[in-house]
């Protein structure tokens, strides 16, 4: 082995060592972290909770965007307005684990809490909306659209599974609040508090491809 070979071997060892160190660090990083920014597709602010095994992204939805979506599916202007002004976020839970059964991700929106000015309330789920519209004249097609567009109240995700959907936090447009989220994975319950998450203001912008 000449000097060049020796140096090269050293570099490879260093590279592999650094790689293993990064992998170990990632494996050890059980704690969740929060990432914020602008969602590339929606061009709206997002809040993302991330661990080594899951991601939960909440992207603002403009009331006008939501109003248009539900008007197009058979709701009256008044009904569409009521949904649109309930502070909706496009929500995506993604199980990025590779751990088989141990990595199964479960959540229940009824365990989440919206904290605002000293008051704590629940997330408005599919069931809340179903009850709210039970006495209203809403076409079956519109009911189905609302049911499937809203984020599932509870769900289990195997490795690689994910869902997109709307969560409603029952706050006025533009409100700042604190959100406690929770989920089960790797045999335990995880919680995370997102401080100063903001409902989209009720303003009109250039149209985007909307859900």
């Amino acid at each position: 082995m000449n000097m060049r070979d020796f140096q090269c071997l050293g570099l490879i060892r260093l590279g592999l060592g650094m790689g293993l160190a990064i992998l170990c660090a990632v494996r050890a990083a059980v704690a969740a972290e929060l990432i914020t920014g602008t969602d590339e597709e929606a061009q709206l602010p997002f809040w993302e909770v991330r661990t080594e095994a899951m991601t939960l992204r909440l992207v603002q939805r403009l009331p006008d965007q939501t109003r248009g979506f539900f008007l197009a599916r058979g709701f009256t202007a008044l009904q569409a307005d009521a949904i649109a002004n309930s502070c909706l976020f496009q929500t995506v839970f993604h199980n990025i684990s590779t751990q088989g059964q141990e990595g199964v991700l479960r959540y229940d929106l009824r365990d989440w809490h919206v904290n605002f000015q000293g008051d704590s309330r629940s997330v408005k789920t599919r069931e809340h909306w179903r009850d709210a519209w039970s006495g209203e004249k809403v076409s079956p097609a519109a009911r189905l659209a609302l049911e499937w567009a809203l984020y599932p109240t509870q769900q289990s995700y195997q490795a690689g599974d994910y869902n997109w959907g709307m969560t409603t936090f029952d706050m006025s447009p533009g409100s700042l609040f604190q959100l406690d989220v929770s989920w089960h994975q790797q045999g335990k319950r995880h919680t995370f508090t997102i401080d100063r998450i903001e409902c989209a203001p009720d303003e009109t912008r250039e149209p985007k491809d909307s859900q």
Binding site: M1, D5, C8, L9, I12, G15, L16, G19, E41, F69, R73, H94, I96, S97, T98, P140, A141, L144, A145, E147, W148, A149, Y151, P152, Q154, Q155, Y157, Q158, A159, G160, D161, Y162, N163, W164, G165, D209, Q211
Partner: protein, 170 residues
């Protein structure tokens, strides 16, 4: 010596890539396995499809809607998978939930697909299956058992997924 190191490094790199790819294109087993509920639905052209007509084949049964971003995202890969599998005893059926034939027709202008797009306008069929969010895709064995469920979109033309579907024909 250097060549051997390069090969070793390449192998390590590839193994990391494979682990990453496997994580994103999974096909989880449905527990417990269930008998596929029978249904009869029209497609967007008016033709009637009965699930039991496909007994003896592997059925990829996808529940979707035109307004659902990940549903739209996975459609082209489903079409590419169908192109590769349609002569190999694998069927793709995509059931639109709660929308009209006109809406689905408009969608196919942007996302042309050649496998059957069935219309579950009343949402009756989707409720027979364990679907909680869209898209959800089930794999039904040639014997009519629902064996796998993928929640959320997939790249259906991924070689590993295609291989798994082919293996399920036995």
């Amino acid at each position: 010596m250097i060549r051997r190191k390069k090969i070793l490094f390449w192998v390590l790199l590839q193994s990391l890539v494979v682990v990453n790819a496997a994580a994103s294109q999974t096909l989880p087993v449905l527990e417990p396995v269930m008998e596929a509920p029978e249904f009869v639905l029209p497609d967007d052209g008016g033709k009637i499809h009965r699930l039991s007509d496909y007994r003896g084949k592997v059925v990829v049964l996808n529940f979707w809607a035109t307004w659902c971003p990940p549903c739209r995202q996975e459609m082209p890969s489903m079409e590419r998978a169908w192109e590769q599998l349609k002569n190999e005893a694998v069927v793709v059926l995509a059931v639109d939930v709660g929308e009209s034939a006109a809406t689905v027709f408009e969608f196919t202008g942007q996302y042309p697909v050649t496998f059957p797009l069935l219309l579950d306008s009343s949402g009756e069929v989707v409720n027979k299956f364990p679907v909680i969010g869209l898209p959800t895709t089930f794999i039904i064995s040639p014997k009519g058992l629902v064996t796998h469920r993928a929640v959320g979109g997939r790249a259906w033309d991924d070689p590993e997924l295609l291989q798994m579907l082919r293996a399920m024909r036995r």
